[in-house]
C-alpha cells in the first residue's frame, strides 16, 4: 500500500548504484567505462589484503571509532540527562544552544585551536606546569599512546551538544505523570534519573547505538586528517584517507571500490551481530 513508492525509491537510490561494484573486479579506466575496462578477477582484493598498511589503518580506524562511540554515547546521554535536571528554563536553553555550537566549526578550524591549545607553549602545558603536575612541557599531539584518546576526547568536546539533542527529544516525550508518581512515592532525584529517565530513553539509546556501530569503519576522516602528524602517523591514519590516497588520487577507482565493498560487508556483519545481541531495530 503506502509502502510501495518508498520501496521503489530506496531501491533506486541505494541499491541500484551497487551495479558499480563490478568495478572492483576490473582494472577500471574512466574513459573506457565499465563496458570497455579489463576484467582482473580478485586482483584488487588481493592487493588490498596484501598491503601491510591496510591492516594498520583498519586497526586505527576501529580503535578510534570505537573509543569515539563509547565516549560519545556516555557524554551525550549524560549531558541530556543533566540538562533535564536544570529547572531554570532560560539557563537550560542557553547552555543547550552554546554546547552545540562547536558542531558548526569545521575540523580544520577546530583542529587549529586544538593544536595550539596542546602545543608545547600552549595553555594546557602552561597550566600543568604552573600547578606542578608537569616538570617539562609535553608534546601532547606527538605521543602515540595518547593520540587515540585525544581524538576521542576532542570529538566529545566538539559534538557532545549536538549528539545530546536526540536524547533531549526522547526525554521531552517522557510522560510527566511518571515523575509525579515517583514524587508521591518519595523517590529522590538520583533515583528518578535511574528508574525513570534512563529506562525511558533506553530504546532510543539502543537503536542509535546499533546504527552507529555499523559506521566504525567509515566514520569521517577529517578530524584525524587535521590532527595527524608525522610523529603519530602510524596510529593516526584511517581507512577513508587510505582509500583516497591509494585509490581515488591515483585514479584507481577499482581499488577504492574493493575497499568500499569490504567496508560494507564488515559494517553489515557488525550491525547484525549487535542487533541480534540487543534486538533494537524491532
Amino acid at each position: 500500500m503506502l509502502a510501495i513508492p518508498f520501496i521503489i525509491f530506496v531501491f533506486i537510490f541505494y541499491y541500484l548504484p551497487l551495479r558499480g561494484w563490478v568495478m572492483a573486479f576490473q582494472d577500471f579506466r574512466p574513459h573506457l567505462g565499465i563496458a570497455g575496462s579489463k576484467w582482473v578477477g580478485w586482483l584488487n582484493f588481493k592487493l588490498l589484503f596484501e598491503d601491510q598498511r591496510f591492516y594498520e589503518v583498519i586497526r586505527n580506524t576501529l580503535a578510534m571509532n570505537l573509543l569515539k562511540l563509547l565516549f560519545g554515547f556516555i557524554s551525550a546521554v549524560g549531558l541530556a540527562v543533566i540538562l533535564n535536571e536544570v529547572r531554570v528554563y532560560f539557563f537550560k536553553r542557553v547552555v543547550q544552544t552554546i554546547s552545540y555550537l562547536p558542531h558548526f566549526v569545521s575540523w580544520v578550524v577546530a583542529g587549529n585551536i586544538i593544536i595550539s591549545m596542546l602545543s608545547r607553549g600552549g595553555p594546557l602545558n602552561q597550566f600543568l606546569l604552573s600547578i606542578g603536575i608537569l616538570q617539562e612541557p609535553i608534546l601532547w599531539l606527538g605521543q602515540k599512546s595518547l593520540f587515540w584518546l585525544i581524538i576521542a576526547l576532542t570529538d566529545v568536546w566538539k559534538e557532545v551538544g549536538w549528539n545530546a539533542i536526540i536524547y533531549l527529544a526522547a526525554i521531552a516525550s517522557i510522560d510527566p505523570v511518571m515523575y509525579e508518581a515517583a514524587d508521591i512515592d518519595g523517590a529522590g532525584r538520583i533515583k528518578k534519573i535511574f528508574y525513570i529517565t534512563i529506562p525511558s530513553i533506553m530504546p532510543t539509546i539502543k537503536i542509535i547505538f546499533v546504527m552507529n556501530i555499523g559506521w566504525v569503519l567509515s566514520m569521517g576522516f577529517y578530524q584525524q586528517y587535521v590532527l595527524n602528524n608525522s610523529l603519530v602517523a602510524e596510529v593516526g591514519e584511517v581507512l577513508q584517507l587510505y582509500v583516497i590516497k591509494y585509490g581515488i588520487n591515483m585514479f584507481r577507482f577499482s581499488y577504492a571500490t574493493a575497499a568500499g565493498i569490504f567496508q560494507t560487508v564488515v559494517s553489515l556483519v557488525l550491525v547484525f551481530i549487535v542487533n541480534k545481541l540487543i534486538r533494537a531495530t524491532d
Binding site: D27, P30, H31, I115, V226, N229, L231, A233, M250
Partner: protein, 533 residues
C-alpha cells in the same frame, strides 16, 4: 509559398542573431576561483573578441572532478586541469592542435615556436599549450636555508656556505640571546605538514648540489634518476638535525604543527632559522613580520651546502614545465574559433593586459617608452584580490592562458611581465633589503646564489606518472614512510640514531623503488632526446 518565405525569414534572423551574438565557450579551469570572466581585462577581451566565457572553477578535490568528467565524457570546450592535464590526453579527450597552429596560429608560432618540440607528446601531437613558461625570478631567491637578518647582523654579516656553519651561527645566537621580545628563542623550525613535508624530504639532495628534482637525484651525465633516502649524506644531514634537537636548538613542535602554525611561529620573530624552504611557502611569514614592523626579524635566504666546494643549484633558472596548460576538448563544436580565441590571447596587446594590467591604472609609460609603476601600483599588485578584479593573471598564468616567459621582450623593448623589468625589481626592495644586499655586495637576492644552470629535461617532478603505475604507488609509499621516520630520526634520543636509521633502511628496502627510478629515468632520457640540448 508563405511557409517557405517564413522559414527563410526565420533562418535569416537566426543567422543575423548568431552573428551578433557572442560565441560562448565553456571552460573548466583548475586555477583557484578568480572570476576572471568578470574582471576588467576579462570583460574587455570578451567584448572585443565577441566571445563569452563560461568558466567553471574547481572547488573540491580535482581527482574526483576529473574522474567524473572523464568517466562521463561531459567535457567543456576548453580544459585547463592543472597537474591532472595528462589524464585528459590519455583519455583522448583533447584534440591535437598541430594543424590549427599551422593554419591560424600567427601569435602562437611567435610565442611557442622556440619550444614547439618540447611541448609535443610522444605521438608528435600538441594537445595543450603549457602556461608555465620558464619565468625567471630576478628579485627573489627560489629556495634555500633561511635565517633572520638580525642573526647575520649580530655577527657582522658572515658568509655562510655550509650546513655546519649555518647551524653553528644559529647556536651562537641562541646561546647569546635565550629570549627574543619576551619569548623563548627557537633555533630551527621545520615544515612537515602533509605534502609540504617535501621541504624536509628533499633537503639532502639540494645541499649536495642537485636541482630540485623532487625525491630523486638525477645523474647529469647518464640521466639515471635515483632516490637518495638510503644515502650516507642523507643519514649525515638528518643526524645534524638530530644533534640540533638534542642540543635544544630544534623545535620538536615542527613535527606536530600544521602550516598555519608554522607561519605563526615564524611570525613571532623568535625563530632564528628554517633549514630549507621555498620562498613561496615562507612568504606569508615575511609579510607578517614586515606588517608588524619587525623588519630585522625577517628571513634571508642562503645557499647552504654540505661542503663549501659544492656548486649550489637552488636558484631556478627558469625551466619549462610542460605538465599542464590549456587545451581544446573533443566536445568543442567549433575548435577553429576556440583556437583563434587562444591565439588572439597571445597578441602583444592582450598579453600586456594579462601581465601588466591596464595602462594609466596599473602602469605608466615614460617618454622613452619604458613601462613603469608607481609605489601605489606596485602595492596594488601585491594584493591578489586586486589582481582578480583587474584580471591580471600573473607569472603563473592563472587559468592556464597561453603566454610567454617574463624575460621575453615586447616589440617596444619592455619585459613581458613586471617581474622581468629590471627597474621594477630595484624599486621593490625596502631599506632593509638594501642593507642586507649592500653587506654582501650584491644588487639582488638571486645574485647571492650560484649562476643557475638550465636542465635539459626540466624537472623530474614535472613528469606525470600514469595512474595505477607501480611507480606512483612506490612513490606514495616512500613518502608515507619518510613522513614517519624523518620525525623519528630527528627526534631520536641520544645514542639511538643509528638504530632508528637501520630500522628505516629495512623498511625502505620493502618498497619497489626501482619501478619508480626506472620510470623516471626512462622519461628523463626521452625528454633529453626530444628536447635536444
Amino acid at each position: 509559398m508563405f511557409k517557405k518565405s517564413f522559414v527563410l525569414v526565420l533562418l535569416l534572423s537566426l543567422l543575423i542573431s548568431s552573428a551578433v551574438q557572442a560565441q560562448t565557450f565553456t571552460f573548466f579551469s583548475a586555477a583557484e576561483p578568480n572570476d576572471w570572466e568578470d574582471s576588467q581585462v576579462g570583460q574587455w577581451i570578451q567584448d572585443e573578441f565577441g566571445v563569452t566565457l563560461e568558466i567553471e572553477y574547481i572547488v573540491g578535490d580535482i581527482n574526483t572532478k576529473t574522474g567524473l568528467m572523464i568517466a562521463s565524457g561531459d567535457f567543456p570546450d576548453l580544459i585547463f586541469a592543472n597537474e591532472t592535464q595528462d589524464r585528459f590526453v590519455d583519455a583522448e579527450s583533447l584534440i591535437p592542435l598541430n594543424e590549427l597552429i599551422e593554419e591560424y596560429g600567427v601569435n602562437t608560432k611567435k610565442l611557442y615556436g622556440p619550444i614547439m618540440d618540447k611541448i609535443k607528446k610522444a605521438d608528435g601531437n600538441i594537445y595543450f599549450l603549457p602556461r608555465s613558461r620558464a619565468n625567471r625570478d630576478l628579485m627573489n631567491p627560489t629556495a634555500g636555508f633561511w635565517i633572520q637578518r638580525a642573526v647575520l647582523a649580530e655577527f657582522d654579516w658572515p658568509v655562510i656556505e655550509t650546513v655546519d656553519q649555518y647551524f653553528e651561527l644559529i647556536r651562537k645566537y641562541a646561546d647569546k640571546y635565550p629570549m627574543i621580545n619576551g619569548q623563548e628563542t627557537i633555533g630551527i623550525r621545520l615544515l612537515t605538514d602533509g605534502w609540504r613535508a617535501f621541504t624536509i624530504e628533499n633537503t639532502p639532495a639540494v645541499i649536495m648540489g642537485s636541482q630540485n628534482d623532487g625525491n630523486v637525484i638525477v645523474d647529469q651525465e647518464t640521466y639515471q634518476a635515483k632516490t637518495f633516502v638510503d644515502e650516507d649524506f642523507a643519514r649525515d644531514y638528518y643526524q645534524k638535525l638530530n644533534q640540533m634537537y638534542l642540543g635544544g636548538y630544534l623545535d620538536p613542535e615542527s613535527f606536530v604543527a600544521n602550516y598555519d602554525q608554522y607561519i605563526a611561529a615564524l611570525s613571532t620573530g623568535a625563530v632564528l632559522g628554517v633549514a630549507y624552504d621555498q620562498t613561496w611557502q615562507i612568504g606569508p611569514a615575511n609579510t607578517t613580520l614586515s606588517e608588524a614592523g619587525l623588519d630585522e626579524r625577517m628571513f634571508v635566504c642562503l645557499p647552504v651546502k654540505m661542503t663549501a666546494d659544492i656548486k649550489d643549484r637552488y636558484q631556478d633558472p627558469g625551466t619549462l614545465v610542460v605538465r599542464d596548460g590549456i587545451g581544446i576538448s573533443v566536445n568543442c563544436k567549433d575548435p577553429v574559433a576556440a583556437f583563434k580565441f587562444l591565439d588572439r590571447l597571445q597578441s602583444e596587446e592582450v598579453q600586456k593586459m594579462l601581465r601588466w594590467g591596464l595602462v594609466g591604472q596599473d602602469y605608466l609609460v615614460d617618454q622613452d617608452g619604458r613601462m613603469y609603476r608607481t609605489k601605489e601600483m606596485r602595492e596594488n599588485h601585491q594584493n591578489v584580490n586586486y589582481m582578480y578584479r583587474i584580471g591580471v593573471v600573473g607569472n603563473e598564468s592563472r587559468n592556464g592562458f597561453p603566454t610567454a616567459p617574463n624575460w621575453y621582450k615586447y616589440a617596444d623593448g619592455n619585459s613581458w611581465d613586471p617581474t622581468g623589468q629590471v627597474e621594477e625589481i630595484r624599486a621593490s626592495y625596502t631599506d632593509w633589503d638594501k642593507k642586507v644586499l649592500a653587506a654582501y655586495g650584491k644588487d639582488t637576492y638571486p645574485e647571492m646564489f650560484d649562476q643557475p644552470t638550465i636542465s635539459p629535461y626540466g624537472y623530474a617532478w614535472d613528469i606525470s606518472i600514469p595512474d595505477g603505475h607501480p611507480a606512483i604507488i612506490a612513490n606514495t609509499k616512500l613518502r608515507d614512510l619518510q613522513s614517519e621516520y624523518l620525525a623519528k630520526l630527528v627526534l631520536a634520543e641520544t645514542g639511538e640514531y643509528e638504530q632508528v636509521w637501520l630500522e628505516y633502511l629495512k623498511k625502505v628496502e620493502r618498497i619497489d623503488l626501482e619501478a619508480y627510478e626506472n620510470y623516471l629515468t626512462q622519461k628523463i632520457r626521452e625528454r633529453v632526446e626530444a628536447w635536444g640540448q
